[in-house]
């Protein structure tokens, strides 16, 4: 009697082991990541609350068509725009010695705004496959030099053979920084490196990267 029970239990156990992992979907977890969003760059930005101020600025500058061209756009988030307003508010308050003054979105002059948005905008598709760990210089639509490159990171990873690579947009100041940097190289000439928090979103018209929240809009 006792032996029989053991056999029956073992049989059921084996059945469980054989059948349990059948559904392979469980291992994959739904579908593969798809970088394509079936929208234009502008529409995609409009659909995310993180960019509602940015889309207002694009409207104000009348640059919707330009952004929806064959372009790569490095989108600053609302945080970057808010920081700009805080900074400008501080400047005018100090200048006129009046703490009630406020710099608002309406105070931004349109030509300046256009220039600044164009300094985040590049012709053609620039994505990870065209980039490497070395600097690659591109001209922005504002006709300034930028380097776009990938940099390896050790953050959030342990011992791995292939390190994750972050995508950076680098504003060149007085030419590309020499490598290695000479001693006492002036800070004002050092290139400004900005990390993208999301990279390689493929829209119907081009590529969209999102800059980190601490990026200084207007550089």
């Amino acid at each position: 009697m006792k032996n029989k029970l053991v056999y029956i239990l073992t049989f059921f156990g084996l059945c469980l082991i054989v059948t349990a992992c059948k559904k392979k979907d469980y291992l994959i977890g739904g579908d593969l990541h798809d970088p394509r969003v079936n929208m234009t760059t502008y529409d995609f930005l409009k659909s995310k609350p993180l960019f509602d101020t940015l889309t207002r600025l694009i409207d104000k500058a009348g640059m919707k068509e330009e952004i929806n061209g064959n372009t790569t756009f490095f989108a600053p988030t609302d945080y970057s725009v808010a920081e700009l307003l805080i900074r400008r508010t501080r400047i005018i308050q100090r200048k006129y010695n009046n703490e009630n003054l406020k710099y608002t979105l309406d105070s931004l002059p349109v030509p300046e705004l256009r220039d600044s948005l164009r300094s985040h905008l590049f012709t053609g598709a620039i994505n990870r496959e065209n980039l490497s760990l070395e600097n690659k210089v591109f001209k922005s639509k504002s006709n300034e030099d930028y380097s776009i490159l990938l940099i390896e990171t050790t953050a959030y990873t342990g011992t791995v053979t292939t390190k994750p690579q972050y995508l950076y947009l680098v504003r060149l100041r007085n030419g590309l920084d020499p490598k290695p940097l000479p001693d006492n190289y002036p800070d004002a000439d050092k290139d400004i490196q900005e990390l993208t928090q999301t990279s390689g979103i493929i829209t119907t018209n081009g590529i969209l990267h999102v800059l980190n929240n601490r990026h200084k809009f207007y550089w």
């Binding site: 900074r87 990171t153 050790t154 390190k163 050092k190 290139d191 400004i192 490196q193």
Partner: protein, 496 residues
């Protein structure tokens, strides 16, 4: 049966000799504290515990957590728990700024157990070395020096605790029987400071001035005087600024340091060597030198506040508050304006004070591949410029402006500035101290004792200062084992 009997007999007889042997290499009271090496090892244990107590917490940098994260110079702490100190209760938006010292996971910093470990070790060294015969040492001076250093470690640890918690239990005796030790109540902070001063007045006679490889990294006469100066200045503050003789004592101690001729200000061109440690300016430092394979591989303040391009492959998570930094560093001709910070991004300054503007104090664990970058700097506790500014502060409080101005200008001139000629000497000394000791683990205490918290820190109302809310709360876990403790009054009913 016979076999079993035989085995039992064997068990009884066979191991006798083996059991009689002394355990090799083990440390226990009956065999330890015999030679000079034993005494030195015991002392080094105390130094080790002292260093550990200053590098506590998840990021291994409690000295800077207490001293700098609390001062408003940061905008982003880069760590959930530390952000309570940086942003106050922004997480909750309650508008009551009390969530800094009691934030989630902050309890590590409310607990004084690590400091009492240091004190227990120091007490043991003082007692045991004191009872060792003089002929166990190369010379009597060695024995005296070891006791002096242990006194310094004990007094510095008490002073450190008083600045954080105020009253603390005062234990000055070696405890022979820790198992049955009694609970101890907190002793008034002024009495604890008196004990520190008494220890230092004893220690300064036991120790000489260190030169060579022991300079600045082992306590000497200079360190004793420096601590004496600080203890008296802090006592002047906690006794409601009633006894001006404390200030004169403080000044006298610093006079002994400057008169010794053992120290000199390091020129601004050699700032990298000053912050690396063991310079002619250093009085006492915690040794974390990579030259001796002593470093913090995955933590420490210096590394924590850095990232690309200074440390390759590392993303920086802290952000300094450029506006607050700008209040203090507003003169580009100041050598520190340029040396302390990388100003590539004005909104996101990088603290280059320690690693050096040209990476002078950086080293790699894997130099071939430029991987595992670390910062090779000691943790400065006392240095000459700091002493001069403290003396200026005391002289100003006594109304001796010209003496105060001399010391202030010495420090200013070193950083290529001209002498001060404005009207508000008091504020200038405070701000110069803040500038000079920026992110050296001092600023919070400078703000407290000069009563500048309300003025310079948005989230610190006057009422909190009046209730001594600058003191840290005592961790609740400590009340479990010691029911005779009382909480600091500001935090009664406020701990979550």
């Amino acid at each position: 049966m016979l076999l079993l009997g035989g085995m039992l007999c064997g068990g009884l007889l066979s191991c006798k000799k083996l059991l009689d042997l002394k355990p090799e290499d083990s440390v226990y009271e009956a065999v330890f504290w015999k030679t000079e090496t034993d005494a030195t090892s015991g002392l080094m244990g105390a130094y080790s515990l002292l260093r550990k107590s200053l590098t506590l917490g998840g990021q291994g940098m409690s000295n800077f957590v207490y001293g700098d994260f609390t001062t408003g110079v940061l905008k982003e702490g880069g760590d959930y728990a530390l952000n309570f100190l940086v942003k106050g209760d922004e997480y909750y938006g309650t508008g009551i700024s009390v969530d800094d010292f009691r934030g989630d996971y902050i309890e590590d910093f409310q607990n004084w157990t690590p400091y009492f470990k240091t004190i227990t070790q120091a007490n043991t060294v003082i007692e045991k070395v004191g009872k060792m015969p003089d002929n166990a040492f190369k010379s009597l001076a060695v024995k005296r020096k070891i006791i002096g250093e242990a006194l310094f470690i004990r007094a510095y640890t008490y002073f450190y605790m008083v600045r954080i918690w105020g009253d603390v239990p005062l234990v000055l005796q070696y405890d022979q029987d820790p198992v049955s030790s009694k609970n101890v109540q907190r002793t008034n902070e002024a009495v604890v400071l008196d004990s520190c001063a008494a220890d230092m007045n004893r220690a300064r006679l036991l120790m000489g001035w260190n030169t060579g490889s022991d300079h600045a990294v082992r306590a000497d006469k200079g360190a004793a005087f420096a601590l004496l100066a600080h203890v008296n200045r802090w006592k002047y503050f906690v006794t409601k600024e009633s006894d001006k003789t404390l200030l004169t004592k403080s000044i006298a101690a610093i006079d002994s340091i400057t008169a010794s001729g053992m120290y000199s200000l390091v020129p601004a061109a050699n700032f990298d060597r000053l912050f690396k440690g063991r310079s002619q300016e250093g009085i006492f430092e915690i040794n974390t030198s990579a030259d001796q394979l002593e470093y913090q591989p995955n933590g420490g303040f210096y590394l924590y506040t850095l990232g690309q391009p200074y440390i390759p492959e590392k993303t920086k998570s802290t952000v300094f508050n450029s506006e607050v930094v700008g209040w203090f560093f507003n003169d580009p001709t100041d050598a520190r304006y340029d040396y302390y910070f990388d100003r590539t991004k004005e909104e996101d300054l990088i603290l280059t004070k320690y690693i050096g503007k040209n990476n002078q104090n950086r080293f790699f664990l894997d130099p071939g591949n430029n991987r595992g970058g670390l910062v090779n700097c000691n943790i400065s506790i006392f240095r000459l410029a700091e002493m001069k500014l403290l003396r200026a502060e005391c002289n100003e409080l006594l109304g001796r402006s010209s003496d105060a101005l001399t010391d202030l200008n010495d420090v200013k001139l070193r950083s290529n500035l001209t002498g001060y000629s404005g009207a508000d000497l008091k504020t200038e000394i405070f701000e110069e101290t803040f500038r000079e000791l920026f992110c050296e683990g001092h600023s919070w205490y400078d703000m407290v004792r000069n009563k500048r918290l309300v003025e310079y820190l948005d989230r610190f109302p006057q009422s909190r200062f009046d209730e001594e809310g600058w003191k840290w709360p005592i961790a609740r876990s400590l009340f479990v084992t010691n029911k005779d403790l009382a909480q600091n009054k500001y935090w009664v009913g406020r701990l979550r």
